[in-house]
Point group: C2
Amino acid sequence: MKLYDMALSGNCYKVRLMLALLGLDYDSTPISLRAGENRTPEFLSMNPLGKIPVLDDDGFIIRDSQAILVYLAAKHGGLQWWPDNAAGQGEVTQWLSFAANEIWSGCAIARAIPKFNRQGDLAAAQAIARAALAILEGRLRDHDWLALGRPTIADIACYPYAALVWEGGVRLDPYAAIGAWFKRIRELPGYVGMAGLGD
Amino acid sequence: MKLYDMALSGNCYKVRLMLALLGLDYDSTPISLRAGENRTPEFLSMNPLGKIPVLDDDGFIIRDSQAILVYLAAKHGGLQWWPDNAAGQGEVTQWLSFAANEIWSGCAIARAIPKFNRQGDLAAAQAIARAALAILEGRLRDHDWLALGRPTIADIACYPYAALVWEGGVRLDPYAAIGAWFKRIRELPGYVGMAGLGD
C-alpha cells in the first residue's frame, strides 16, 4: 500500500495510526501542499479534490481520511474496528461525521490558522472546537470509547485533531475524561504518535 | 420508526427520501429550532449536539443524516444502497464525507444564510459550493451515479443540498451532468421531493 501523506496533517496521521494499529506495511509518499504537489494532473486524477490523504492499495485508489478508515478496518480489521451490522455501523458513523464536521471545523481549523497561516476566523473556530470538546467530554465521562464499548474507527477519527487543538490555542486541561481517553488510545498495541501530541 | 424532522431541512429530507425509496413507514415529529425544541433536556438526551434529524427505531436512537442513511440502508436496503465489502463501503463513504464537508459548508451554508438568516460569509460559502459542484459535475460527466455504478446512499447524501443551492444564489444551469443526475434521482421508484426542489 502507498499512502500520499503529510507528516503534520492530522487527517494523514489518522490513516497512519490505523495502519499501525492493524500492523499493516505501507510506503509513505510525502505530498507538499506548499509546492502544489496536490494540484498536479497526476494527483488530481487520483483525488479531484486535491486533498490528502489518498491511499493506493494495489491500484484501488481511495481518498478522504474517514473513508480510508472504513476501508482499512473493513478489509483488515476483522469486526473490532468496524462492525458488520446496521446498528453498529450507524453508531460508529455518527462519530465519523462528527470528526468530518464539528472536529474539523473547530479543532482542525483552529490549529491550521496559526500553524499553517490558513485564512479564517480563529475565535469562531475555537468556539466550535470547545463545543465539540464538550460533546466528547460528555460522552467519555461515562464511556471508555466513543462507540460500541470498545476501540473503533470512531475513536481513531476523532482523536487526532482533538489532541492537537492546543496548537490552535484551546487548552485541553479542563477536559478530564478526554485526557483519560487520550491515555487509553495511546496504550493501544501498535500505537504511533505524531509531532504535537506530546507523547 | 419516528423521525425528529424539519420540513425545510435538507438533512432531514435526505432521511425522508431514503425512507421513501425503501418503502418504510414512519412518523414525522416536527422540531422547531426557532422555538428551541432542539435544546430541551429530552431532545439533548437523544442528541447532545442539538441537531436534527434524529431517528428513533423502536428505541434505537441515531443522529446525523449520513449515519442514519448508513443505518437504514444496512438494515433495510439489501446490498443495493450500501454494500457489504470494504472497497464498496470505502467508495461510498468518500461521498458521505463530501456531503458532510464540502456540500455542507458550501451548498447548505450558502442556502442557510439568506433563507434562515444564518450568520456567515455568503460569498465564501458560494465559492465552496461552486467548487463542490465542479467536483460533482466532473464525476457525473462520465458516471450515471456517484459510486458503484448504481444509485447508493452516496447519491442520496449529496443530492439535497446540491439541488437546493439555487436558494443560496448559486445558479445550477452551468452544470449539465448534475442536472441529468437530478433527473435520474427523481425518476427512482418511490422518490419524494421537498419544497425548493422544483419538481
